[in-house]
């Protein structure tokens, strides 16, 4: 005797039914944090062809492999010099607590890289703890201050973000405590909608003039980055180069956010893998490789990801979500007084569990990372967070150099596309590298290897 056979619909599966019924009950779309959860072609779909008989490897544990990275060599008289090509992506004070921003700065400084402000301005803590701080100029201009422009080491004009290209941000009222409100010149507790367009310029021709204004204000000293969310990357990168950017940051669809509509996160933009290829093609088309530096972000997690990004043509990467995870995001416990304290019940109260949480928008982060709550933010000790993040960044960098040495490179920037193959047809087409075991790059004529 068997029970009735249950057949779930492919089109209207339980997840879809839940979505429709939630929409019907609330009249609101879902807003959440972090990045896309759907699977898209990514760096896992690429593999390295390390040295063998036709290539000569470096001794993995002894020979030097350079990781120094210089950004902003085109026009700025003071380019940004980093010890490693792995930077901390822009994340706002507001989305993150001041203690977290402090921890990011400490760790970045210790490993010799940069951190980046976000919507809401520059905090004194992050300026003090960050040796190299990139100051974002966002559409909202919340907290944007010429004194901070002068205090910054580089300026990043944000056109868009991978999680929500074309969309503005939102910081829900529960995260708008008195300090956040004061920095953003808005009332405490109101939902803060960040604009999707800059207030004082409207297109690429205007951007040329805006960049020149920022150069005049900074006396042409500081590099100007332009950050785009990955959509029409080939054209956007070319326009940003024409506008005078020193550095272009391309953020793929896997990039995270503090709070955005789920429909945006999952359905707008293109994967980082495809975006990077298009960005490099655009720089090649303009003969600007090496003159304008390229930073790629959006779902970068490991040294393998970084190595593949550099091999495809990026000069550096920026990591956001990985950094938060290193601090404890989605961990089942937080550390206080040297002891691990379970946060599982707090996750449950949010209707989630460690490993699944994306509730940054609520401000009730169980591990004290994405919160402005006075009690919760104490769960992240800046010294502990900085130590963990330093460990993570060092590990990623060691993985990167391990792969580079195995490919016979004395400098991680010497990794090249020829070192890569793809596991899937989709990844081969997006990355522009051959399918493993073949000479076939979809979209190009076959050649003999």
């Amino acid at each position: 005797m068997t029970g009735p056979q249950l057949e779930e619909s492919a089109g209207f599966d339980r997840s879809t039914i839940d979505y429709i019924q939630r929409a019907a009950a609330s009249g609101l779309y879902e807003i959440r944090g972090l990045g896309a959860k759907r699977r898209v072609p990514n760096f896992d779909d690429l593999l390295f062809l390390a040295a063998s008989l036709s290539r000569y490897p470096l001794e993995g544990y002894r020979e030097r492999c350079v990781t120094k990275t210089v950004l902003g060599t085109r026009f700025a008289t003071r380019p940004v010099e980093l010890a490693i090509p792995i930077t901390v992506a822009g994340m706002s004070f507001g989305a993150l607590s001041a203690r977290v921003k402090d921890a990011l700065g400490r760790a970045a400084t210790e490993v010799g890289t940069s951190t980046t402000t976000g919507d809401g301005g520059m905090t004194a803590e992050e300026r003090a703890s960050s040796k190299t701080l990139v100051y974002q100029c966002l559409p909202s201009r919340y907290g944007f201050d010429p004194d901070d422009v002068r205090r910054a080491d580089a300026i990043e004009i944000v056109i868009g973000q991978g999680a929500k290209p074309g969309g503005g941000g939102m910081l829900l009222g529960q995260k708008v405590n008195p300090r956040v409100a004061r920095m953003r010149t808005l009332p405490e507790g109101v939902d803060q909608r960040s604009a999707s367009r800059h207030p004082d310029w409207t297109g690429p021709d205007d951007l040329v003039i805006k960049i020149k204004e920022l150069r005049e204000i900074t006396d042409w000293e500081k590099p100007i980055y332009v950050k785009v969310g990955a959509t029409r990357v080939f054209n956007d990168v070319k326009l940003a180069v024409h506008a005078g950017a020193d550095v272009i940051v391309v953020d793929g669809m896997q990039g995270g956010t503090a709070a955005t509509q789920t429909v945006f996160i999952e359905h707008v933009g293109i994967p980082t893998l495809a975006a990077l290829r298009q960005a490099v093609d655009a720089l090649d088309d303009l003969n600007m490789r090496g003159t304008v530096q390229l930073v790629i972000s959006g779902g970068i997690r490991s040294g393998a990801d970084v190595a593949k990004a550099l091999a495809m043509g990026a000069d550096a990467v920026a990591i956001g979500q990985g950094v938060l995870v290193a601090l404890g995001c989605n961990s089942d416990s937080y550390i206080t007084g040297g002891q691990h304290v379970s946060a599982v019940e707090d996750y449950a109260r949010l209707g989630t569990a460690p490993g699944f949480c994306h509730h940054c928008h609520t401000g009730k982060c169980p591990v004290g990372v994405t919160t402005q709550d006075a009690a919760l933010e104490l769960r992240l000790d800046p010294a502990v967070g900085a130590k963990r993040l330093k460990n993570y960044l060092k590990t990623v960098n060691m993985e990167l150099t391990t792969i580079a040495r195995a490919c016979g490179k004395q400098d991680v920037h010497h990794l090249e596309k020829e070192d890569l193959v793809a596991l899937t047809v989709e990844a081969a087409a997006m990355a522009g590298v051959p399918l493993a075991g073949t000479s076939w790059i979809p979209g190009t004529a076959p050649s003999r290897l």
Binding site: V190, D200, D206, E213, E216, I217
Partner: protein, 236 residues
């Protein structure tokens, strides 16, 4: 004679001959050190970013029309444009005073945090967009979407306003004397209080205007979009 104040030291730049870079570098790093407080700028000829990023108590007189971002991010300085101004005049100003004797193009005073921007003529689209605490007085009329998402500060419009005035306003207040083609989402007319009249009178006097505050109407946020809810008619 001993009681007479010494004349301020002056310096002249002629942009037909001198570069914009030389002018701005002088305003940023040299003028204050040399004790120069008055700078005359001749032949601006529509150049962009003139006198942007000043962080000193200087008096800059620009004789002619200017392009984008005149006096952008100004702190402390008084900058007068004896002509028309392109987009983004006094954008992100923190303090000081910027006076455009002619007309101003789009986004005048965008995101300005403090100080006073006076425009004798009309201002185009998006005047006072994202305003964060500065005061703007427009002697003429303003274009559509003026005061869009304005967060704090005051905008005085002595003429008319085009469509969507004050769309998505936060805490900024608009005083408008002429016709308003339409209000934007969440903006509404409110009664003028005695405090409004006194504040407006002060702004008009500072701007050399003699209008009666009683001729103005107040526009402010209805605050119905302050919190995300299902009945906001997709205006989020």
């Amino acid at each position: 004679m001993a009681n007479l104040k010494p004349l301020p030291k002056a310096r002249e730049f002629d942009l037909a001959r001198d570069s914009l870079r030389d002018l701005n570098l002088y305003l940023h790093k040299q003028a204050a050190n040399e004790g120069v407080s008055q700078i005359q700028v001749k032949h601006p000829d529509g150049a962009h970013s003139i006198a942007c990023g000043i962080d000193a108590d200087l008096d800059v007189q620009i004789h002619g029309h200017v392009g984008y971002y005149v006096a952008g991010m100004n702190k402390h300085a008084s900058v007068t444009v004896h002509g028309n101004a392109g987009p983004g005049a006094a954008e992100n100003m923190m303090s000081g005073r910027v006076h455009v004797r002619g007309f101003a193009s789009t986004a005048a005073g965008a995101s300005a945090h403090g100080g006073l921007l006076i425009i004798d003529g009309d201002a185009s689209l998006r005047c006072g967009i994202s305003l964060k605490g500065a005061d703007i007085v427009v002697g003429g009329s303003v274009g559509s979407f003026s005061a869009f998402m304005a967060q704090a500060g005051r905008i005085v419009i002595c003429g008319d306003a085009e469509d969507a005035l004050g769309d998505s306003l936060y805490e900024a207040v608009i005083y408008v004397r002429g016709k308003v083609r339409s209000l934007g989402a969440d903006a509404r007319f409110e009664p003028m209080t005695d405090a409004d009249c006194a504040a407006l009178k002060g702004l008009l006097v500072q701007s050399g205007l003699a209008h009666d505050p009683a001729e103005f109407r107040r526009v402010a946020s209805a605050k119905s979009l302050y919190h995300w809810h299902a009945d906001a008619n997709q205006e989020y």
